[in-house]
């Protein structure tokens, strides 16, 4: 038995440390530490409720819009507001644009560069992978950065700027766009579609969105050489390295539902377990701090009564991350959860074959880009210039409200108590809080901790490459995790 401490674990958002117990050539146990505490939940106490829209986006630079959406939804409930269609659509477009940009950054900048590591130098596919995906010098980075930046011109029009917009309000959007601006956004999306179809997919978005099973995906990949598109390139590497056998966690998936429609969501809310879907019961959500650096509660807490009192010397603790559970169970969240809950046939099929693993997580994320761009194209056509984008409300007295949404990397919730017109308690449970939670009071490891068990370790590896693939397959955001 030996120990490895991997950190700073980079190409994730924020700082991360993973402690591994190695037995033979495998990870036996993993402990995941989110080492940075900032205390947003305490900063928010006694603030004016609407000021949450200034502070909470700044929890996270990569999912700031998702934070705004969760806060705005909670505040809308507190004011009994119903968004005008234009406001709902505009905010959905901003939110989808962020999630697409995040997926793109994750795939090209965070995840794929690991295939260009020296450890793979002897593999027949290495030269191609390194030329395309080597961190900073690969040809892919040069292609993706301008495309991403130009796509985010959508934010310049609809949100003023990204990250850290204040355009997202409880009653809609502050930015009423005009018909010519809609035309400009349609042109931006069209340019982005060309990038995706040429570089990422090597095929139309419609074709990608229609792939309905693992078998169809493999057949699609085999149609053309692996170097013909970056997604095919990934599928080739994934098959060569059997990434579908790496990093399985609980196979219990949860989604809060993303992109509100007139009724319900574009991607449904729910829980998927053992091949069956069930409704999400939010009252079953608790947070446990038994192994985290906080003053101990002795029992898991409901987020409305949850508290955040740091204690850097708490016994047995090894992370600033709390341990959220649904009905006491560990859940996995992310694009894979969103898609499997929504009934996406490809992702349902992949999950039924091999559960959540490095391969299925990445396939869910990359194909979600196609679905989201198609959704944005549709939403842009639904805006009605001249009609209202925002309604106003007022918060007085008290409220206990929860704003639930989906960031790129999974389910995000804000629980807010308002008393006498000020914030009395604000608790945030972020996607990576679910995925990277430490053990709970029963000793149950979090999703990543479980996914790392059994990961292969090559001789002499200090940062096992399999561990890197598994960790990054979750697209972690550590600044959200602890906040």
């Amino acid at each position: 038995m030996s120990r490895l401490v991997v950190g700073p674990f980079n190409r994730v958002e924020g700082d991360l440390e993973v402690k591994l117990e190695i037995s033979g050539n495998q990870v036996k146990e993993a402990r995941v530490n989110s080492p940075l505490y900032r205390g947003f939940e305490r900063i928010l106490r006694d603030k004016a409720p609407l000021d949450a829209l200034i502070y909470t986006p700044r929890i996270c630079g990569i999912c700031s819009v998702s934070q705004s959406m969760a806060a705005a939804e909670a505040l809308a409930q507190a004011q009994g507001l119903r968004l005008p269609p234009n406001g709902r659509i505009a905010n959905n477009i901003v939110h989808a644009a962020e999630n697409i940009a995040d997926h793109l950054s994750h795939f090209y900048l965070f995840f794929m560069p690991d295939f260009a590591r020296e450890v793979y130098a002897a593999y027949p596919w290495y030269a191609d992978a390194a030329e395309r995906f080597k961190a900073m010098t690969g040809t892919a980075a040069a292609d993706v950065l301008p495309a991403r930046a130009e796509f985010l011109h959508l934010m310049g029009i609809l949100a003023g700027k990204w990250p850290h917009t204040l355009s997202i309000r409880p009653g809609g959007s502050t930015r009423a766009v005009t018909a010519n601006e809609i035309a400009r956004m349609q042109a931006i999306v069209s340019g982005f579609r060309r990038f995706l179809q040429r570089f990422l997919f090597g095929d139309t978005l419609e074709r990608i969105a229609a792939i309905a099973s693992g078998e169809e995906l493999a057949a699609w990949a085999a149609e053309r050489p692996s170097y013909s598109s970056d997604f095919r390139h990934f599928l080739h590497l994934s098959a060569a390295l059997e990434l579908d056998r790496l990093g399985r966690a609980t196979d219990r998936f949860m989604s809060f539902g993303a992109y509100r429609a007139e009724e319900g969501h574009l991607f449904a809310r729910g829980v998927y377990e053992d091949g069956a879907i069930r409704p999400l019961v939010t009252a079953q959500i608790t947070e446990d701090v038994s192994n985290a650096w906080y003053v101990q509660d002795g029992q898991p807490m409901d987020p409305f009564s949850g508290r955040t009192e740091p204690d850097a010397d708490a016994p047995d603790a090894y992370s600033w991350c709390k341990a959220p559970r649904l009905g006491g169970k560990v859940m996995e969240v992310g694009a894979i959860a969103r898609q499997v809950v929504d009934g996406n046939p490809l992702i349902r099929d992949l999950v039924s074959q091999g559960g959540g693993n490095v391969h299925s997580r990445v396939v869910a994320r990359v194909t979600e880009i196609a679905h989201l761009v198609l959704a944005i194209e549709k939403l842009l056509g639904e805006i009605e210039p001249g009609k209202p984008f925002c309604v106003q409300g007022k918060i007085d007295g008290s409220a206990a409200v929860a704003g639930l949404t989906e960031a790129a990397r999974g389910s995000l919730g804000h629980w807010m108590l308002v008393e006498n017109g000020r914030i009395a308690n604000y608790q945030i449970i972020a996607p990576t809080t679910w995925n990277f939670s430490p053990r709970d009071m029963d000793g149950k490891p979090g999703a990543l901790e479980l996914a790392l068990e059994g990961a292969p370790v090559r001789k002499g590896e200090k940062e096992p490459v399999a561990v890197q693939h598994i960790v990054r397959s979750f697209d972690p955001c550590l600044v959200c995790t602890v906040h």
């Binding site: 000021d51 700044r58 310049g156 003023g160 700027k161 209202p388 600044v479």
Partner: protein
């Protein structure tokens, strides 16, 4: 990452190390929005070699720790240290709120050691400059900037700190930064053409703080006539009612567009003065203008109050109907018309 090899004609490439601590990573995300050219081209043009950046580099874990040791022990010269996020000193000065992963050592200690060896030290974003959002509330986490804690000089490195080049910490304040602010400053630093005269009284580049957010504001005509927005999403000037600090805030946000064409004000919400120390605790609700007997407290920079009041009441009286009616809606109701065009 630079394709060019060092050569006699080509000056030595400047080595840059980027660390993140008590922040959100949003300044890096904003930096990736750099355009004309993209970020990697801009680094190359600036003759900068990125030794390590947490979001961009391949190296992870022990590879990074040994790079940092190489710098600390003098085997690698560090030209530019960039810090993104606040310095986390808490709890009780221990730095335990951010122990750098894999090192068992407080990040604040790494930052202090590396800053004393670096040719130049750059604070990226309001957090690294002054403490920023992370220091809001009661600042229980003891967040501070590299050379400031809020408006107090000092911070982690002390008020007399000078980096190897003799420059104080360069504060690219903003929440987040505009990519252009950083890319251009790094280019100048790398070319050794940057001096104290290029910085303002808060250590920020004058290149962008010589401007007010008010400059180039698309709502200037509403401002001139005090045709004010009453609620967020209205088109009028947001100074009187909605907390806009554009007439005080120092930045070129309405001259240099964000994400192609945007700015906060263009997005329909007020400037919150995010380039300034202590913007995170304005002492009032961000989107409401504090007033004393109906007059906004934060008057435009350099403007005598009596003059402002006199001019405001005069211009209010003269407000054209067009502006009066456009100011309080979310879309243009009355376009300008050309009186020389004869009605047919």
């Amino acid at each position: 990452m630079n394709m060019r090899a060092d050569s006699p004609e080509q000056p030595r490439r400047r080595k840059l190390l980027w660390l993140q601590s008590g922040g959100c990573g949003g300044c890096t995300m904003s930096l990736l929005n750099a355009e004309g050219p993209d970020l990697l081209s801009a680094f190359e043009a600036a003759n900068i070699e990125v030794l390590w950046h947490p979001a961009l580099s391949e190296a992870t874990g022990s590879e990074v720790i040994s790079l940092m040791r190489d710098i600390v022990e003098g085997r690698v010269h560090l030209d530019i240290l960039c810090l993104e996020g606040s310095v986390m000193r808490g709890p009780n000065g221990t730095g335990k709120f951010h122990m750098m992963a894999g090192s068992g050592k407080p990040m604040m200690d790494w930052i202090a050691e590396l800053a004393r060896l670096a040719g130049n030290v750059v604070a990226v974003g309001n957090c690294a400059a002054y403490g920023g959002i992370t220091g809001a509330g009661g600042n229980e986490v003891e967040a501070c900037g590299l050379a400031y804690e809020g408006t107090q000089a000092g911070g982690l490195l002390g008020k007399d700190f000078r980096s190897g080049s003799g420059r104080p910490v360069v504060n690219i304040a903003g929440c987040p930064i505009h990519p252009g602010w950083l890319v251009e400053t790094l280019h100048q630093i790398s070319a050794d053409t940057y001096s104290r005269a290029d910085m303002d009284e808060w250590g920020r580049p004058l290149s962008y703080t010589m401007h007010l957010v008010h400059h180039g504001c698309s709502r200037n005509e509403f401002y001139e006539y005090k045709a004010s927005a009453e609620k967020l999403s209205d088109l009028g000037c947001m100074m009187e009612n909605l907390g806009c600090k554009g007439t005080l805030a120092r930045a070129d946000c309405n001259i240099r567009p964000w994400n192609g064409s945007g700015s906060c004000i263009d997005g329909g919400y007020p400037c919150i003065n995010c380039t300034s120390p202590t913007f995170e605790e304005p002492g009032h609700t961000f989107t409401e203008t504090p007033k004393i007997s109906g007059i906004p407290v934060g008057l435009p920079t350099d403007m005598p109050k009596a003059w402002f009041v006199a001019l405001a009441s005069l211009s209010k009286a003269a407000t054209p109907q067009r502006l009066r009616s456009n100011a309080t809606g979310d879309h243009l109701k009355v376009p300008p018309t050309d009186r020389t065009k004869v009605k047919s």
